[in-house]
């Protein structure tokens, strides 16, 4: 084999969109393939876990792992790739901060199983069979990965060197990140490989954002046809721009939709949801409690809105499940 640097891709609790994102590099992917050997990529190549296990520790230059960690299998693979790689990259919102799967942290395993395997209208399960980690079957034992109570981001399982945010990461930032890694001129560990400024600061509609922004009523995207040239927050739409890192090329804004926050916070913010909550609440144009509460009713799902991609990586990480002692 030539001495091209080795690269691996893996998916954990994710939708597959991050895999698409790699393919979306289009012809640029040929440059990547020319520069590296892809030694492991379950979605596209037929290498097995045993192939990875057989490699020397640290022999992979970089592993790009997308998806959150929900099961024991995902945890095992994350730890394996960590051991085999010089650089571990959390790829996409789910690996970065938990992503959409981490919204399940508002429930626990029992509640999730109960809904998924018993109570949903489309479920037929009269015997109440639940997933088991091991089940005897015809004299053999059939196994499934264990299912954790809490969804974790990749860096809550093992040490992560770099983050490529986004749901999914855009081709530009993927190409930029790969270039950075191949250049050998590595940024400090823990860096998120995008600009460290808020999306608002590079928003094409920044000019139309009033100095003193006041919101009287929150609107959801289906309730209004937004003006294409005006700041979406000024139109009452919950745009996450003030609390979200830039680098995406404001694709949603270009599509006249508010930012939903998939790039996570800038390095100065610890909890994206709380920061956004703070910004939104200060813009609200009311001073008495009843009027404030009426306006806040316009945000029917605050956690799903403010923590859509970041619940696992937030300060509280999950809903409190432990019963309270008397």
């Amino acid at each position: 084999m030539p001495d091209k640097p080795k690269v691996a891709f893996y998916w954990c609790s994710s939708c597959g969109g991050c895999e698409e994102a790699v393919v979306d590099l289009a012809e640029k992917i040929l440059d990547v393939v020319a520069a590296v050997d892809i030694v492991f990529w379950p979605v596209a190549l037929d290498f097995k876990k045993s192939d990875v296990e057989a490699m020397e520790d640290g022999s992979i230059l970089a592993s790009f792992v997308n998806g959150a960690i929900r099961t024991t299998e995902q945890e095992e693979m994350a730890l394996l790739l960590r051991r085999k790689s010089k650089v571990l990259v959390a790829f996409g919102s789910c690996a970065h901060l938990g992503g959409i799967p981490a919204l399940a942290n508002l429930w626990d395993r029992e509640a999730i199983f109960e809904t998924a395997y018993r109570t949903t209208a489309s479920t037929v399960n009269p015997e109440g069979i639940m997933p088991q980690v091991s089940t005897p079957h015809n004299g053999d034992v059939v196994t499934l990965p264990g299912f954790y109570n809490t969804v974790r981001a990749l860096d809550q399982v093992t040490e992560v060197d770099y983050y490529i945010p986004g749901c999914a990461p855009t081709p530009n930032i993927i190409a930029g990140a790969v270039e950075t890694l191949l250049s050998g001129d590595l940024p400090p560990a823990g860096t998120v490989l995008t600009p460290d400024i808020a999306l608002c600061e590079e928003c094409p509609r920044l000019e139309s954002k009033p100095q003193e922004l006041t919101i009287e009523r929150f609107l959801r995207p289906h309730e209004v046809i937004a003006d294409e040239g005006t700041c979406l927050l000024a139109q009452g739409l919950l745009c996450m721009g003030p609390a979200t890192r830039s680098g995406c090329g404001h694709l949603c804004i270009n599509g006249n939709m508010p930012c939903t926050g998939c790039f996570g916070p800038t390095s100065k913010v610890r909890d994206q949801g709380a920061k956004y909550l703070s910004a939104i609440a200060s813009m609200l144009g009311f001073e008495d409690e009843a009027a404030i509460d009426r306006a806040l009713d316009g945000i029917p799902d605050p956690i799903g809105t403010f923590y859509r991609y970041g619940l696992a990586g937030s300060l509280l990480r999950r809903r409190k499940m432990t019963p309270v002692d008397a």
Binding site: N149, T150, R319
Partner: protein
């Protein structure tokens, strides 16, 4: 001068657990009320850890979450009465953030009594005493918040499964 309290605000729990309450008091009103309570030799529950901020509007919701995530059992925010803010509108901002933060905390499974916003002027030492005593009693009744999950416990939820483990299968 108010009567000194002879008894503690609420009896200690059987195992001697005492709630920790992080209190953010504004420099111009509530902190001065706490000062007045001290110089007036008022006695009240010693469970608050007071952090002085210039204005209740300075209390970033991240501070509240951070306190809870690091083991606080409750958070008390004290500011000037409406219309009295040293910076005109800081307390209104605090109120709006607080109303929204409450909704978030409820969704996180955190009881209503664990977070409180009160307007306490520099002259209202007795109100400060009563608010702290009442909140400590309420939080004591609720028990520890236990929101700070240590990293080693993040992966909990497999214990029962491990018990059911079939020979030769590792979880």
């Amino acid at each position: 001068m108010p009567e000194p309290m002879d008894k503690p605000a609420a009896p200690a729990t059987a195992d001697g657990w005492e709630p920790k309450i992080v209190a953010f008091f504004c420099n111009w009103c509530t902190y001065l009320a706490a000062d007045l309570a001290g110089t007036s030799r008022m006695k009240y529950a010693p469970n608050t850890r007071v952090i002085r901020v210039m204005c209740s509007g300075r209390v970033d919701p991240q501070f509240v979450l951070e306190a809870l995530a690091h083991g606080a059992d409750g958070v008390l925010i004290g500011g000037c009465h409406p219309g009295d803010c040293h910076y005109q509108s800081g307390n209104y901002k605090a109120l709006r953030r607080f109303r929204l933060l409450k909704r978030i905390l409820l969704a996180f499974g955190i009881e209503d009594e664990r977070i409180r916003l009160e307007w306490i002027s520099a002259a209202e030492a007795d109100k400060l005493r009563d608010v702290v005593n009442e909140m400590v009693a309420q939080v004591k009744a609720l028990g520890p918040a236990r929101l700070g999950i240590p990293p080693e416990d993040w992966a909990v939820g497999l214990e029962e499964e491990a018990d059911e483990e079939v020979e030769g299968v590792t979880v």
